[in-house]
Symmetry: C2
Subunit: 334 residues, 2 copies
Amino acid sequence: MTKNETVPGHFMATESAQALDVFATAVRQDVDVADLAGSTAFYTIARGSSDAAANILSYEFMRELGVPMTSLPPSVFSLGKGVSLAGSAAIIVSQSGASDDLVRSAVGAKGAGAKVVAITNQPDSPVEAQSDCIVPIGAGPEKAVPATKTVCGSIGAGQAILSAMSSDFQNRAHRDAKKLAGLSTQFEQANRLQSALLRARHVYVIGRDTGYGAAIETALKLKECVAIHAEAYSASEVLHGPLQLATNPLMVLILDTGTAETQDSLDQAEARFEKEDCDVVRIRVSDFGIDLETPAASAALLLAAVYPIILNTALALGYDPDTPATLSKVTQTT
Amino acid sequence: MTKNETVPGHFMATESAQALDVFATAVRQDVDVADLAGSTAFYTIARGSSDAAANILSYEFMRELGVPMTSLPPSVFSLGKGVSLAGSAAIIVSQSGASDDLVRSAVGAKGAGAKVVAITNQPDSPVEAQSDCIVPIGAGPEKAVPATKTVCGSIGAGQAILSAMSSDFQNRAHRDAKKLAGLSTQFEQANRLQSALLRARHVYVIGRDTGYGAAIETALKLKECVAIHAEAYSASEVLHGPLQLATNPLMVLILDTGTAETQDSLDQAEARFEKEDCDVVRIRVSDFGIDLETPAASAALLLAAVYPIILNTALALGYDPDTPATLSKVTQTT
């Protein structure tokens, strides 16, 4: 271990700073997904941060391909007898590619007739061994317990799959990747966001479309790194029962991908929570001085921008996110 | 309004007490779902409590039919251009059958080639008008803002669909319905659970399989009725990053359907949170002196038992769950 590596948060700081470059490299890789042509449905199978990346990708795939892409719980294969998946593709996202439930899901999905795609960061992993197509995240070793660059890399790997299926999408995705490689993730509201998080005990992270998956990942990281109770909601869902939590002091973080059809919904949520006197911060892709054409790239940018704020909040509160008290890097569950 | 109707929580108390009878009646109805035979995939489209009921049903359908049943966000049709659903069935769960996004989803799913099934409590609703099959919840008017009897009724309506598709399932479901009709939902740990909720500011509600959907609904009701920040997790997912929240005072409610294959996972979660000194309460179907054969019925029972505790907690804290400060009965979102 070098001297730097003993500094709290060193790995998360280093790795999250690489997130957009990892994303851009993952997008621009050539992948062979000929097996996926004609799939009538896509199913994602993943857990934790990888599941958030899968959620982001599901909106992108549905928009581009016009076929459903939904989340199948790993337990369908790891605990249950599985379901028939003839004509479908199963996309398994797993940074380690080693979790037992996902290995069993890969075996089960293949046996059930699906073409299986593995998005992983660990070459020659057990999940890969069971898959028809392999799409590397290519982030290199990730040493911090909280995944950051591999999350953005997973989103990029998904965009590489879509790029191989649609040259029109590929053009847009490659233009976005070029803009994001090397981009600074500093933004004007960063200090305001960090102050709000330091004051907060209850947080809603709100998004829509690919911004919803970014919200899921942000809420998870706030719990994991800062032990703040943050929960993700779609801008629509949150205006039903969950709104009542606003009668407590509640901080609301809105992640805005800039997608035109989501603006009304995000505006409505912002206005409603401000009316309830919540502490509302809205981060927009335009805050970074750019304009993107693919909403999953917008989600990757918002995550890459939020990760350092979460890290700094954790450090200010005396936590070392590289090594959370209760967690290990690979969690084995059923 | 009668004198009783002005007592805080009167409607929620009355309606939640009817939940198991509504469930049992809904299960035993005859429904015509011939159109669904041969569906290669089921998609649920719903929001809020109805989405929790849909989640519960998805595990039951997948186990019984061996085909995937996953959740499709309404925005795919309400904001986006939709996805192809040829050969699939779309099950729309909506107590009112009136929410714009679900009406647009019904129209969109039908146009995309799906057979559309409506589970609703409002005869002649706009969602029903767009559907191929209608399965009534049959709960009668629900006056409290928090849905209770219609949630259990939605689960029952889903079991009626499965019963029409499988006579073996029908036998088990009807035996369970008979046991649940008129059953007392009192249980020994009720006081302990209520005390724990009164002390709690952060709650994880944990389940697995159909117990996970029950956890989603319970967490939603705790937010809506008691303004406690409660979040649902699958017993597996929670042992990854979210575990770190246990470094705060955290109350953990485990909803145990008794399903054999979920026991290891629930045991592991219980032990892990107890090790972190959390306040852990586990409610089992066996606490009610019965044994059930269909896990969705177990989920309905756990909900019917938890609703009165949530109501009493709300009343103790000075809230009137019949009329939450920020909410109305039908929320129109996009």
